[in-house]
């Protein structure tokens, strides 16, 4: 399990894999320019999707990785399913934590909603399960023709379930819709997208106004294929209630706040799915979701709390599946309005040293979390800098640094944190405050329910705050949030940081991009704008009758490889 992730841009002149583990190194580029990836799904049998999830004790599951052997099959598309699947009447029931407000991907970026519409609407390109790669799906391949032109070649012979053809025209319609969508504004600044050109029936070219490499990440996050006629006819809101796509399932019934039923699309282009009916049940209470799983009312429980692990591991009928997550818990220092002491970076480093992240991982998260490694990016993400190491737990050093900065007697620090918004957020807030107290800082706790938290955030009166941000695994959507004047900036990292990140966003060359992001990560480490805490793993409860479930870093449920006994 050396490689944790890869950055795989099929169709580019190079493909690159980065060895994982502790001292990940960039390997030399492999694959020649002529390697035209096919990723057709048929025949090549990508080993990825089928990897069975590992049932674990407290130990994290290593992501069931897609094939990184360098074969030309970079795709996630499973082998074409046999027609005999049509005979099956199998059912799968999934327990969700919330009822979607809409199933129109243009209107939302919520992973929990996508976990439903992803079976109905398919993406042109998608993030791999590990989050570090983008693979083709409905687009057979994609390629930067130049800095500002992205060419997509489409799979042929696919139609939407209402009969509309999937072609370059529909791709143009879809990309236009996503690029203009409010929900995606943070991924694609308004001046970036120019137009999509229909080259021929199955080729589309996206033209940008300026070089913007994260466009791929934007497509991988949004970028579902929409049926232009139907969509225009019913409008975006009605589409969200009755979506139509090219996917293996169609929406059959939606009882609000209760359940959503999907039926198999018998004419699916990649063969009929072995499961005839998928039911999503809305069970917001974590305890209740776990209980429903144990009694067999549901087969798959999404995003369970750590407290479920013991129960799941002791069970004969269900497994716990964990997957490295991307919800990053950090205490963001407000150096603009916060106490004077925070302006001194020695103080901020001292606070980073004051918290025993490993103890938190082992204690509060029962091992199902990873400490942040002195930087924003998670280990499995493309922008991770392997040369930076975690701030160790060192109370003496922390005290020494505080003394050096002139705060030997501590100072008052108000810490605001969310309560009840994320699993374990309250416990985490309490324990972090306890740790900070131990180096002599006088912590004033301000735990807030999320509604109030958000109100204050928007008023700009939040101060130093701890919360868990979940961002798409494209580095720019992460680093870009901490540049000067951006939404999550609580500390000025300086002109150089902003310049580096902006520059990186303009490079379609991944080597160059990565080098720039590594420099930015170093700046963030040396002048930490936050107390880097932990990244909880995602925990799923999976009935033993479910086969081929693959957790994804983006927390989206993909049923393409799932079957039930």
């Amino acid at each position: 399990m050396g490689q944790h992730w890869k950055w795989l841009l099929t169709g580019m002149s190079r493909r690159r894999f980065v060895g994982g583990a502790l001292a990940a190194t960039l390997l030399a580029a492999c694959g020649g320019g002529e390697s035209t990836p096919t990723a057709t799904g048929e025949g090549s049998g990508g080993s990825g999707g089928e990897t069975a999830p590992t049932a674990t004790a407290a130990a994290p599951t290593v992501p069931a990785n897609i094939d990184t052997s360098g074969s030309t099959n970079g795709g996630l598309v499973p082998p074409k399913a046999p027609e005999s699947n049509l005979q099956s009447t199998k059912q799968l029931t999934v327990g969700m934590s919330l009822d979607p407000t809409t199933l129109n991907p243009v209107l939302t970026t919520t992973a929990a909603y996508q976990s439903i519409y992803a079976q109905i609407l398919e993406q042109l390109v998608i993030f791999g399960p590990d989050g570090g790669s983008v693979s083709p799906w409905l687009a057979e391949s994609f390629e930067w023709v130049d800095d500002t032109t992205l060419e997509l070649r489409l799979r042929q012979g696919i139609s939407f379930t209402n009969g509309e053809p999937f072609d370059a025209e529909s791709v143009k319609f879809s990309i236009d819709a996503f690029a203009a969508a409010k929900a995606y504004a943070f991924m694609i600044p308004p001046d970036v997208y120019k137009e999509t050109e229909v080259v021929d029936e199955y080729t589309a070219r996206v033209h940008l106004n300026r070089p913007y490499a994260p466009f791929i990440g934007f497509l991988a996050r949004g970028g579902a294929a929409l049926p232009p006629k139907y969509y225009a006819e019913v409008g975006e809101d009605a589409f969200g209630q009755q979506p139509i796509g090219t996917g293996p399932f169609v929406l059959a019934e939606w009882v609000k706040d209760d359940h959503i039923t999907l039926k198999r699309n018998d004419d699916y282009w990649n063969g009929p799915h072995p499961v005839a009916t998928v039911t999503y049940r809305v069970i917001p209470e974590d305890t209740a979701r776990l209980a429903a799983l144990e009694t067999g009312e549901i087969d798959l429980a999404m995003l369970l709390p750590v407290s479920a692990l013991n129960r799941l591991n002791a069970s004969d009928t269900v497994d716990a599946v964990t997957h490295p997550g991307l919800r990053k818990f950090a205490l963001h220092f407000d150096t603009k309005t916060g106490p004077e002491a925070l302006k001194d970076k020695r103080v901020r480093i001292a606070l980073n040293l004051a918290v025993d992240k490993q103890a938190i991982v082992d204690g509060i998260f029962q091992g199902a979390a990873d400490p942040m490694e002195g930087q924003w990016e998670a280990r499995q993400e493309f922008g991770f800098n392997p040369n930076i190491s975690m701030f160790p737990y060192d109370v003496e050093q922390a005290k020494a640094l505080l003394a050096e900065a002139g705060y030997a007697d501590g100072f008052d620090l108000q810490v605001t944190y969310t309560v009840g918004r994320y699993p374990q957020d309250k416990e985490l807030g309490e324990i972090v405050c306890d740790y900070i107290k131990q180096v002599g800082v006088n912590v004033i706790q301000r735990p807030l329910e999320y509604g109030t938290f958000t109100s204050l955030r928007q008023e700009g009166t939040l101060g130093s705050h701890q919360w868990g941000l979940l961002l798409p695994p494209e580095p720019y959507f992460n680093y870009g949030n901490f540049v000067q004047g951006s939404a999550y900036e609580t500390h000025d990292l300086g002109d150089e940081y902003s310049r580096l990140v902006d520059e990186a966003s303009r490079r379609t060359d991944l080597d160059e991009q990565l080098a720039l992001y590594h420099q930015a990560a170093q700046i963030m480490h040396d002048d930490p704008p936050m107390l880097f805490l932990v990244i909880p793993q995602d925990i799923y409860g999976v009935s033993k009758r479910v086969r081929g479930f693959q957790p994804r870093t983006d927390q989206v449920l993909w049923l393409f490889t799932v079957d039930v006994d």
């Binding site: 974590d286 305890t287 776990l290 709390p305 407290s307 013991n310 129960r311 103890a359 938190i360 082992d362 204690g363 509060i364 309560v419 009840g420 699993p423 309250k426 416990e427 807030g429 309490e430 324990i431 306890d434 706790q445 301000r446 735990p447 807030l448 329910e449 509604g451 109030t452």
Partner: protein, 300 residues
């Protein structure tokens, strides 16, 4: 509402000093009331203990003791009720939480009583538009689903101990107003009020000196029952995540914290739950006994 009508009846009784002994006799006659009274006195005693007296194990997290089993099960007295998710002593956290739990319910009841009694007295005494406005407001308040109102108001005012108190008081005064109004209505026509009016007493004087003492007993009964219902409402609010937040501790918040661990560490929810149930039960029993005591029809 049987409680209300019965206390209404009690309210008609003129205040006579000599009846107090009889009332106490009625009140104290059953063992349930005696136990409840004792329990409540102990609770109040615990609530009066300064927070600093409780051992550090009630405050400081210690991850190595996470979900330690109750000493009760192991025959030791340390961590009698076990430890919570952060390794804190549940027993002492319950004791510590008594203060805030009772304080919130108590102050909210006090404010609700003051607002509600004043509104009820004025409505019945002045009649006319005052009565009209108060009665409509009471109708409105009693029609609201109280929990929703409380949740929305707490969300609006921000989560803090004071906002929970204010919100509970705002939501709870109407019940008093209605009862006190009808109790007072039957009094204002009586001779002693007429007499006071004729001697030229000012309204304030009549309200405070003549009317209030005569509705004191339903007020007392209602307040006791109200304490119980406020403890329950506060615990629901805390359970739903909108109650007072750390480092503040209430029983409801303890249950809210522990509910995700009900399988692994049932003690973190069971014991705070018992604390709520027993206290509410005790308040209800004492309230009932008081009502019986104030009811002239009750035989000793």
């Amino acid at each position: 509402m049987s409680a209300l009508s019965e206390s209404l009846r009690a309210g008609r009784e003129p205040a006579v000093q000599s009846v107090w002994a009889r009332r106490f006799g009625v009140f104290w006659r059953s063992w349930e009331t005696r136990i409840s009274t004792l329990l409540l006195l102990v609770m109040i005693g615990v609530a009066l203990v300064p927070t600093s007296v409780w051992p550090d194990t009630a405050f400081d997290s210690n991850l190595t003791l996470r979900h330690r089993e109750p000493g009760l099960l192991m025959g030791t007295t340390d961590y009698l009720f076990g430890a919570d998710a952060l390794g804190r002593d549940v027993f002492f956290r319950i004791l510590m939480g008594t203060k805030l739990t009772l304080l919130i319910a108590g102050l909210a009841t006090l404010f609700a009583t003051i607002i509600g009694s004043a509104a009820g007295l004025c409505a019945a005494y002045f009649r006319g538009w005052v009565d009209m406005v108060v009665s409509r407001l009471v109708d409105i308040m009693l029609a609201f689903p109280i929990l929703l109102l409380v949740l929305a108001l707490v969300a609006a005012l921000g989560q803090s101990v004071s906002s929970v108190i204010i919100v509970l008081a705002l939501s709870g005064w109407a019940g008093y107003a209605r009862v006190i109004r009808s109790a007072t209505l039957s009094l204002v026509e009586r001779e002693f009020v007429e007499a006071a009016r004729c001697t030229g007493a000012r309204s304030g004087h009549i309200l405070l000196r003549h009317l209030l003492p005569n509705v004191a007993s339903p007020i007392l009964v209602l307040s006791t029952l109200n304490l119980a219902s406020f403890i329950l409402t506060e615990s629901s609010v805390s359970f739903l995540g909108l109650g007072p937040q750390p480092p503040a501790v209430t029983w409801g918040a303890l249950i809210g914290d522990g509910r995700n661990y009900m399988y692994d560490a049932w003690w973190a929810t069971l014991f705070p739950g018992l604390a709520i149930i027993l206290t509410v039960l005790a308040f209800n029993l004492v309230g009932d006994a008081m009502r019986d005591a104030f009811d002239p029809h009750t035989r000793q």
